[in-house]
Symmetry: C2
Subunit: 374 residues, 2 copies
DNA sequence: TTGTAAGCGTTATCAC
DNA sequence: GTGATAACGCTTACAA
């Protein structure tokens, strides 16, 4: 019914608890909890009846308390309490034409950097009385269009889209439905789309320049998959640009593209070594790849940083703990989330905002690893 | 406006890009994208008019395609296409009394294990045509009640709650509104609440027994914060039970409770060492604490596993890469998410389900680290 | 197979 | 301040 162990062949494993399931096939409903007295859910009219006012007044008492006499408000609240009344969101949304919901479309939550972004978005929006509706597409453009449509259908008042690469119809759809949106993580090159993010290309240049300044000349890269992911491709472009500035290139055999997993980081090192002699430094598309790469180097007896310098992008607190050999470029996802949420809230409130907000990235150097002198 | 660097004092840091923001204060709305031809959003009636059928038929064509003549369905779809029609979810929910939405209440997404769980839930539910509405409470019980109420208001058809420790009123509220729910990650001790999760107590016992079998007798623990978190407290209880089985105890000075952060893991080691001689093994409440603990040991020149054996709970692929000295107890969050979603879907479909599903946990031994012989 | 029309539970516009 | 009442956009008997 569900998988137990996935591959991790290098480890000895002992299983405990063999998928125990209690029997009985009971209907697992709430008979363990007493039902409320009435079987039907209370509605606004019930509250109105009990508090001897009209539904209009109840509605006001609930959403604009200052517009009713304190005494009435109290009676209404009392009734709400005793009936356990909870508003019907759909009805409310239909009548008021507002849902106080904002949607976010991201690749996946199974990546710390995106999960952190979402958590920050959620926190900021919730404080402002909005709810965040998250949808992930797992790097499938078609799915992205589908889930975005679903969010619009759900009546989101605004949308947060991760990245600047999107199906053209997607943006048209947003325009047609007049859904305000903001792109995050990347910056729109055309300068015409609202965005708050990082300059990935500059980041790539920065990290490569750092290595160049240390004296590295033979640099390789384990990049993320660039197709449909401008963050990954821009980082790579930046690296190439920095190298080009010194008359260097990133030849075919010095670049591999991999998904963001540890295993891929290991494979990356293997493939680079299979394709040629060890480079003096490897730039990894993100922290996860970098950790995987480090591990593979260790297993192969390559002293890091003695022989190879590993460098990565993204926030990597773990890396700081793990090894002194890693330099990373940190993208503060929490700040990004908070800022993006504020951007949208401001626009929804009719305030003027910057079209484009660039967040700073910081280079975290754990140890200066010059290449071995030849 | 937003924070730049947070503390990471042990690293040299260079800043690049100083919060650049383009000026102009333009209204960041979609003037970059052409608006659809009509300014008002198309509704069902518009589609009906264009396709020359009644709204009822359009509705059927859209939700029960097999109930209309293929030719009409085609006309309707054509109209939908040309108008860029997207259903109004609130209206639909109000009329049909179903939202095809399921809610999940979790502590935070900023924890890989919960984020993974949510991602798995989302994937499974989306395949079944449901949308997942996520709310996090960041370990605040009052917030949990509030967000749960919001979810009910939003009309979720069912709810997934993380953990078994909840405000009593919360469960009553669910019963009153007849919202089916399932508790995940932990197993309800009373056996009366539907749940799918792991046996944390058994897990604690198992990991402690593992160390005992290796010959460790002086065991310490860096536990998670146990207040309001039965996962953490049950793990600790299990450890105590295993020790008690050998006539051993976990005295005050051998336990510290910490939040799940790397820094806390470091502090944990410091506090344990300040309170007494080094234990031969440390059990950590989760992987993050364990990595932090490992790092502190290294910095202090404590050879791991030479002198201290570090052991942790949770899935920790990173740990496997980082060090051979760590043993972990793996909780497969993806399986949990998928299973929990299936449980709820089955119930919504009126099928019988197990009240209680226990998932297996597995011990991943990276190296057998016996204590140094005294 | 399709159309008619009565809701669904709120909010919002008026009067009072 | 409060009360009628008409929307809001869709689904779904019931009829045809």
């Amino acid at each position: 019914m569900y998988q137990l162990a996935r591959g991790m062949p290098e480890c000895k494993r002992l299983h405990i608890a063999a998928g125990v399931v209690t029997s009985g096939h009971q209907r697992a409903d709430g008979d363990a909890v007493k039902r409320g007295s009435s079987t039907k859910t209370a509605k606004l009219a019930d509250v109105a009846r009990l508090s001897r006012v009209s539904t209009a007044t109840v509605s006001r008492a609930l959403t604009l308390p200052h517009k009713v006499k304190p005494a009435t408000a109290a009676r209404v609240n009392q009734a709400v309490e005793t009936l356990g009344y909870v508003a019907h969101g759909a009805a409310r949304a239909l009548a008021s034409r507002r849902t106080r919901t904002i949607g976010a479309v991201i690749p996946t939550l199974d990546n710390a950097i995106y999960a952190k972004t979402v958590q920050a978005l959620q926190r900021t929006l919730e404080q402002a009385g909005y709810m965040l509706l998250v949808a992930s597409h797992e790097f499938d453009a078609a799915v992205e269009v589908r889930v975005t449509r679903t969010l619009i259908e759900r009546g989101v008042g605004a949308l947060i889209l991760l990245g600047t690469t999107h199906d053209h119809g997607l943006l048209r759809m947003l325009a047609a439905h007049q859904v305000p949106y903001v792109l995050i993580w990347s910056l729109d090159a055309s300068g015409r789309l609202p965005c708050v993010g990082f300059d990935s290309r500059a980041a790539g240049e920065r990290i490569a320049r750092h290595l160049l300044e240390l004296g590295h000349r033979d640099i390789a890269m384990i990049s993320g998959i660039t197709a449909g992911n401008e963050r990954a491709s821009e980082r790579q472009q930046g690296v190439r640009a920095a190298l080009a500035g010194r008359g260097l290139a990133l030849p075919r055999e010095r670049v591999v593209e991999k998904p963001y997993t540890l295993q891929a980081g290991r494979e990356g090192v293997r493939e680079l070594l299979a394709a040629g002699p060890a480079p003096s430094a490897v730039i990894c598309g993100n922290d996860v790849l970098a950790i995987g790469a480090l591990s593979e180097c260790r297993e192969r007896g390559i002293a890091v940083p003695g022989q190879v310098s590993i460098t990565g992008f993204d926030d990597m607190e773990i890396a700081a703990v793990v090894t002194p050999a890693l330099t990373t470029l940190r993208f503060p996802a929490e700040d990004l989330g908070a800022l993006a949420a504020q951007h949208l809230l401001a626009r929804l409130a009719g305030r003027e905002v910057e079209m484009r907000t660039e967040l700073p990235v910081e280079l975290v150097v754990r140890e200066s690893t010059a290449p071995p002198s030849k």
